[in-house]
């Protein structure tokens, strides 16, 4: 049996008005980067809160690192970055971080050493200024995000759970986060993160689980999911606006079953039996100035849209993913 960091079996959570998560099962291998994908209101945050044992599922079991997630001391091996971030505003950064570390069972001395390392690493402590001695509300938003991030990782958790980690990050912090995720994986840690940004998930994740309206739509490794949905797709870019002839070709359903205008290029899904060579010949024949013509795998985004559809995104916009 594979060594699992997290195993969820058939959990369901009902709130008064609606079912937030319904019979959800998934498994995250140790050392994997795992993406929990879904539109807003899909039940991502509820699922994460159940994993953290903040709320209990109505039914089903959750096993973390081989133990039921209610086991004592287990939370100390978890790092959690919530979607809605916040810190005690009036507290000194260093004291706040020490507090967060102590809550995870790290003693003050070890915490202090690690805090300095992290402050250096994220350049919150430089020759000119040590932001560790400042109060939280004296920090810029970007710096507060860094502090929050340090707080999540200070106790060197085995499993890191990040809820919508990229939302609200500036490009520099987003890059730092990405680097850290890669680094965590290299050190054998498990990273689970939820997002509705498919591009990030596609680049970072080993495996994904897509949920919508509280129900699992699909899961598996990213490569597996992609090859499973490998219809022949073409990325096409044409100079200038497509002429009427070109539009007619693209509208030919014997050749093209679906087309997604991505502004810079079209992502085209070929119809069953449609031949990409024939498409290219006809386009050139119609006088189109082809700049890019590439056979590609469907993006996660495409798969997501196809599986979840527009309805899944419209419904359940309750604010919590």
């Amino acid at each position: 049996m594979q060594d699992l960091a997290l195993e969820i079996r058939g959990i369901t959570k009902r709130f008064a008005e609606h079912v937030a998560v319904s019979d959800l099962s998934l498994a995250v291998p140790r050392g994997a980067v795992y993406g929990l994908l879904g539109p807003n209101g899909a039940g991502k945050t509820t699922t994460i809160r159940m994993i953290l044992n903040v709320i209990a599922p109505d039914s089903g079991t959750i096993t973390l690192l081989g133990q039921p997630n209610t086991a004592s001391g287990l939370l100390d091996r978890l790092g959690y970055l919530p979607e809605e971030r916040g810190l005690y505003k009036k507290m000194q950064v260093r004291r706040l971080l020490r507090f967060l570390a102590e809550l995870k069972g790290v003693n003050a001395r070890t915490a202090d050493k690690r805090i300095d390392e992290w402050l250096d690493r994220l350049s919150l402590r430089t020759a000119e200024k040590d932001w560790g001695n400042a109060k939280v509300d004296e920090l810029s938003r970007g710096m507060q995000q860094k502090v929050q991030f340090i707080g999540t990782l200070l106790h060197d958790p085995d499993v890191v759970i990040l809820d919508e980690p990229f939302s609200g990050l500036d490009p520099i912090n987003a890059q730092a986060l990405k680097d850290t995720v890669v680094d965590l994986k290299r050190r054998g840690k498990t990273v689970i993160f939820s997002t509705h940004l498919m591009d990030n998930a596609e680049r970072l994740c080993d495996s994904v689980c897509i949920i919508a309206r509280g129900v699992k739509v699909l899961d598996g490794t990213v490569t597996g999911v992609k090859s499973e949905h490998n219809k022949r797709n073409v990325a096409l870019a044409i100079a200038g606006d497509p002429s009427a002839d070109v539009s007619a070709i693209l509208g030919d359903h014997t050749l093209v079953s679906r087309m997604d205008d991505s502004n810079r290029f079209f992502e085209i899904e070929l119809a069953v039996g449609g031949d990409p060579q024939q498409l290219l010949q006809r386009l050139v024949g119609a006088g189109a100035m082809v700049q890019r013509f590439e056979l590609i795998q469907p993006s996660l985004h495409q798969i997501f849209l196809e599986k979840v559809g527009a309805t899944g995104i419209e419904e359940g916009m309750s604010g919590h993913g």
Binding site: A16, R49, L52, V54, I55, L75, D76, L78, Y80, P82, E84, R85, G86, L87, Y88, K89, K90, M91, R95, F99, L100, E102, L103, K104, G105, Q148, G151, T152
Partner: protein, 428 residues
């Protein structure tokens, strides 16, 4: 347990570190000192300031009674009677003299005027009008002077030597009241009442201040969303307990500093008064404080504080904005105000039925009962019953609040209705 300690430590240290705490804790005793010294200081100054005597006496008796009153108002024959103006008039001129005097009072050349006429002698009736007519103290001084003047006049009429009259009518009574309990005499009645009232007020202040402090703390964690991070490390029960204990410890520390410095001030009062150039203050006979009272006091404080802290925490977890918090906290604040409203009637009559009832009600008992205990001997069964009631109510409130807190802490949006609250309590 280690985590509970971590939470307590944070709640305690972050509060003790604030400027607010330092200011209130240090200046509190200073404030006490001023309150203690100021009345004595003012009364010393007030004796030199002959403002009560600054009146006009319209004397229509024709017997010189007005002069006698003036003399007495200004501290006897040795005093300076010039401060008081005596106008002797015929009985039919009284009305005119009164309207003139009224104008003078309105123009602030006099503080008031006293009218003496034939009725004053025959039926002991006189009238006073003035700016200070609502000051019971000042009116009483004038009345006493008048009574003594009439008495002196009568005695002289009986043929007594005026000098002997002066000596005989100069009676000053200083009555002390002492309290008797089952165990015998102990301290002064007034002293106990004041002491009791101070205790009640202190408890009330502590509960209000630190209860609201808890509410703000919970709301801060909710609004800044720190709560999300914390509950991924500790359970909400630990967080709530740590908060209540930590904040309570801050309250206890402050109380200890205050009471300690009050005791110090009292101990060194003689030196302080000498420094300020005032005669030594008459020793306020402090009531004996039996150890039982101290034990009960601490118990009532802990339970009462726990009860209200839990309620305030639940309110904080229920709401998502400061405005909502103020509204939702009102019922809790009302419960507290209700208990302090009854403090005065209970102090005036600590054995009344009302006093008994409000010291049985768990929400007012923590404030009222210690006060009654300082004033009178409360039967042991009442004390035990009241304490049990508070303890049970405290336990229920903590239990309910912990459940509301568990659900509410991560809920945002509009305030829950009563029905939703009930569901939160059932759900968690």
């Amino acid at each position: 347990m280690a985590k509970l300690w971590t939470v307590i430590k944070r709640e305690f240290m972050e509060r003790v570190r604030t400027k607010w705490f330092v200011i209130v804790t240090v200046f509190g005793p200073l404030f006490f000192g001023v309150i203690m010294v100021l009345p004595a200081y003012l009364s010393v100054r007030g004796m030199k300031d002959v403002r009560v005597a600054d009146i006009r006496i319209i004397d229509a008796t024709g017997t010189g009674l007005g002069d006698r009153v003036a003399t007495r108002l200004n501290g006897g024959p040795m005093g300076d009677a010039a401060a008081t103006q005596v106008v002797a008039v015929a009985p039919n001129e009284v009305a005119a003299a009164e309207s003139l005097a009224t104008r003078d009072v309105m123009a602030k050349t006099r503080r008031g005027y006293l009218v003496l006429d034939s009725l004053t002698i025959s039926a002991q009736k006189a009238s006073y009008a003035g700016r200070n007519a609502s000051s019971l103290n000042e009116v009483q001084i004038i009345e006493t002077a008048l009574r003594s003047a009439i008495l002196g006049q009568r005695l002289e009429k009986e043929g007594l030597d005026p000098r002997r009259v002066e000596a005989l009518t100069k009676v000053k009574v200083d009555m002390s009241a002492e309290r008797i309990t089952d165990t015998g005499r102990g301290g002064s009645g007034i002293g106990s009442a004041i002491f009791g009232f101070m205790i009640a007020f202190l408890l009330y202040m502590m509960i209000v201040l630190y209860g609201q402090n808890i509410l703000r703390g919970v709301l801060e964690e909710k609004l800044t969303r720190v709560a999300e991070v914390i509950v991924s490390s500790v359970s909400t029960d630990v967080l709530l307990a740590g908060k209540v204990i930590g904040v309570g410890a801050v309250g206890l520390l402050q109380q200890a500093v205050w009471l300690g410095s009050a005791a110090g001030l009292y101990h060194f009062r003689a030196q302080i008064f000498v420094k300020l150039g005032m005669p030594a203050m008459p020793a306020i006979p402090l009531p004996e404080v039996p150890p039982m009272l101290i034990v009960a006091l601490v118990l009532f404080f802990i339970l009462g504080y726990g009860l209200y802290a839990a309620l305030f925490a639940a309110v904080g977890a229920m709401v998502s904005s400061q405005e909502d918090a103020n509204q939702a906290a009102q019922p809790v604040v009302m419960l507290l105000v209700f208990s302090i409203i009854f403090a005065q009637p209970v102090m005036l009559n600590p054995t009344s039925r009302l006093a008994e009832i409000v010291s049985w009600i768990p929400f007012s008992a923590p404030v009222i009962m210690p006060m009654r205990m300082a004033a009178i001997q409360v039967p042991w069964y009442e004390l035990v019953g009241s304490l049990t009631g508070v303890a049970v109510t405290c336990a229920i409130c903590v239990w309910l609040s912990a459940r509301i807190y568990r659900v509410g802490l991560l809920m945002y949006g509009k305030r829950p209705t009563m029905r939703e609250l009930a569901r939160w309590i059932r759900q968690s």
